[in-house]
């Protein structure tokens, strides 16, 4: 039984670990990265709204916000999205 587990593990270890993380973003050069996380989350929602769930390039934003945002922030925002009270997607009215 233990051998089976070891074999499975050895198999997994054969696959190289993909080392990949969002790079430096010149829009957010500060120590505080909250805006970086937020912007990528909003951009993903906008991207999906515009191009649909299956549009692959949108996944870039998702990977980025998943890497940067604390999980409870994402949960909270997704909750707000479901309830329709997420503040990031509100259209700004033009004033004349």
């Amino acid at each position: 039984m233990a051998d089976e587990r070891l074999e499975k593990l050895a198999e997994q270890l054969e696959q190289p670990l993909v080392i990949q993380t969002p790079g430096f973003d010149a829009r957010f050069p500060n120590t505080n990265q909250s805006k970086n996380c937020w912007q990528n989350f909003v951009d993903f929602q906008k991207c999906v709204k515009l191009k649909g769930e299956d549009y692959v390039p949108c996944q870039y934003f998702k990977r980025t916000y998943e890497s940067l945002c604390p999980n409870i922030w994402v949960e909270k925002w997704q909750d707000q999205l479901e309830k329709g009270v997420f503040p990031g997607l509100k259209e700004r009215k033009a004033h004349h």
Partner: protein, 241 residues
């Protein structure tokens, strides 16, 4: 046993009656220690000189009548300290900005301060998102060679010689993430994501303690970072559930 060897060959944790830094484990900490030693050298030289002057003048063994109304001398003892301060300020500022410099990160880890434990998130891997809490080990559960009030149940594992980005935040009140042997400290604030960049240059287990007064158990929320090679790290990623 390997744990004991690891933790006691290098001084990677606070020790009682400790007067100096812990052993450096990152290029940044090496630089900080070098700046400290350099500043200390200048400081001791000045202190010795001043003490000698004070002794000589107060015991009236030295009196120089030209010291009165001597413009050249006064200019000298104004300019020289200014130059000395500049030689300390320049490398100090240089180092300050170097610690803030963000390199191209290879791995992102999120760390969240909670009352009263730390939790860590690994979210870089598409098919494996990890999140776990890291509580201090109670004294009764310690094994031989463990460090009291420093050991945790789940360590933060990181690959060495890898550019790391750590994002630090808090869930409730202010905390502070500290790793003295890496020369790293950043406040954890609710609603804010603080980024620090670091690199460990050797394997080891590094110990830190919460550095912002956060309540009753502030002293009992240590952080332990295990720096290892990529193979062990990927083993950890694959086996951790």
């Amino acid at each position: 046993m390997t744990t004991m060897l690891h933790t006691h060959l290098f001084s990677d944790m606070p020790e009682s009656k400790q007067l100096n830094f812990q052993d450096p484990a990152s290029p940044m900490m090496e630089q900080i220690i070098m700046l400290h030693d350099y500043t200390m050298f200048i400081l001791m030289t000045i202190l010795t000189f001043i003490m000698w002057m004070l002794m000589k003048t107060t015991t009236r063994m030295m009196y120089w009548r030209n010291m009165n109304e001597n413009t050249k001398l006064e200019m000298m003892w104004t300019m020289l300290p200014a130059i000395m301060l500049t030689t300390i300020a320049y490398p100090s500022l240089k180092l300050l900005y170097a610690t803030d410099e963000s390199m191209e990160p290879e791995l992102t880890i999120k760390s969240m301060g909670n009352q009263w434990y730390w939790s860590y998130e690994y979210s870089d891997y598409e098919n494996k998102k990890m999140e776990f809490a890291s509580y201090m080990m109670p004294t009764e559960e310690l094994k031989m060679g463990d460090n009291r009030l420093l050991e945790v149940d789940n360590r933060l594992m990181i690959p060495m010689n890898t550019n790391m980005r750590m994002l630090i935040t808090a869930a409730d009140v202010l905390h502070s993430f500290t790793m003295p042997s890496l020369g790293m400290k950043a406040d954890a604030m609710p609603g804010r994501l603080n980024q620090v960049n670091f690199l460990t240059s050797r394997p080891g287990m590094f110990y830190g303690q919460c550095s912002e007064l956060c309540g009753t158990n502030h002293s009992f929320m240590p952080m332990v970072m295990e720096s290892t090679n990529l193979k062990n790290y990927s083993y950890f990623i694959h086996t951790e559930t």
